[in-house]
């Protein structure tokens, strides 16, 4: 369960003349997320990424508090991050090593100390996702969809309870969007996904509409998507 209690995020903007002004990225967020799949929709710059990043403590609230399974995302940041897997928009930023298998081994380092065993497990995890052929390839030679699936495999190797994905299909073509969308839909874990793909959002159990740092609608997908259409076409 993910809980937001009166969460606001402000950042200081340095101004000429020395005085700082501040900008509000999120304001007055109160949410309890228990649904299996939650989609977050909103225009560019509306605050989706900031909202998602508060869930694993990458962004700390300026006031209020976010908790995951009762753990405070700031105070228990390390523990929270071990329970919350985060998928970035660009897998090339997310993948830290140059081949798929090495990257997955990196995720397994804390759990499996024996090298041979670790490699075997990494290869098995790739094979489970139909990615066996990508194991030794340079991540730069993979298709966008394969890269995103490798990133997902790498995060799943950490065995998180919650997956947070920030526009994971935005950079992909239609075919790869479906591929990655299906992989995300089949996850057992709770999923919070920011997306511009309204078809993907429609399949969620709950949709949140973010607008100028606030949640302006929340609930059944179709109602929220209709509301979002209206809001954007004004």
């Amino acid at each position: 369960m993910i809980e937001f209690q009166n969460v606001s995020v402000q950042v200081a903007i340095p101004q000429a003349g020395g005085k700082n002004s501040s900008k509000t990225l999120l304001e007055g967020i109160n949410l309890t997320l228990e649904e299996h799949r939650v989609a977050v929709i909103g225009a560019n710059g509306s605050g989706k990424s900031t909202l998602l990043r508060t869930i694993n403590g990458l962004v700390a609230p300026s006031s209020g508090q976010v908790s995951v399974n009762g753990l405070d995302t700031v105070k228990d940041g390390k523990k929270v991050r071990s329970q919350v897997g985060f998928i970035f928009t660009d897998p090339l930023s997310q993948l830290l090593l140059s081949t798929a298998v090495n990257d997955i081994e990196l995720s397994l380092r804390a759990k499996i100390k024996n090298r041979g065993e670790r490699r075997e497990r990494a290869l098995a995890l790739l094979a489970e996702r139909g990615l066996a052929n990508t194991a030794e390839q340079s991540i730069y030679d993979l298709s966008g969809g394969e890269r995103q699936l490798v990133a997902l495999t790498s995060i799943l190797a950490l065995e998180p309870d919650v997956i947070v994905a920030d526009e994971p299909t935005t950079l992909l073509d239609l075919k790869n969007k479906f591929l990655v969308g299906r992989a995300l839909a089949s996850l057992e874990q709770q999923l919070v996904i920011a997306t511009h793909d309204l078809d993907l959002a429609a399949k969620a159990d709950r949709v949140l509409v973010v607008h100028e740092g606030r949640i302006v609608a929340s609930g059944v997908p179709q109602n929220c998507i209709d509301y979002y259409w209206e809001l954007m076409s004004k």
Binding site: R53, N56, L58, K78, R81, S82, G85, F86, F88, D90, L92, S93, Q94, L95, L96, L97, S98, T99, N102, L106, S107, A110, S138, I139, Y140, D141, S154, I155, L158
Partner: protein, 201 residues
Amino acid sequence: MNKVFCLYVPGDSLLHRLGVGWKYAVMAAMVISGVIVSAWWFTLSLLAISVILVLLTAVPPRFGLQMSWALILVAVLLVAYQSFTGKPLTGVVIAGNLIMAVYASRMLTISTPESVLIDALISAASFLRVFRVKPEKVGLAISIMIKSIPMLLDLFTGIQQAAMARGRGRNLAAIVTPFVVRTVAYAQETGAALAARGLGE
């Protein structure tokens, strides 16, 4: 996608069989002596040796010796700049050392699996324990740098082409400024990716 470092190519050439320590030593000796001696004839000889070393890995020459446009541009700019300040031979030394360093490191990366390269660095870095630095962290940092190079070169090429498309291809500031900004953003993303993987702290 640009490739300065060529990744490991399996094989059984002399260099593949040579211990990784020796290869690191050869590479380091070449780069360091090139910088210290700083003479055009010396740099050009080293450059020739580095080409021979790449060829000795028995990969196809066109693969092993390929050069990225970004690197050629940097080399040409270096020579041009030094010629402009009246020291063309200094330009040859700096640009030659740069290309020689790329080939020397390529000799190493083509003939050695990445895991072996990094393990060797980790064990070489064990002395850092004295300073409470974990050698594994050094290894990880280096692996991430290696991974980032093609990305950064691609970024550079992209920005350079965008500048050219607007007729500002010769304006260094128009290329360097967005490159620095984007590199910083990329570094921040990498930091976030590390933290998200529980490796940041």
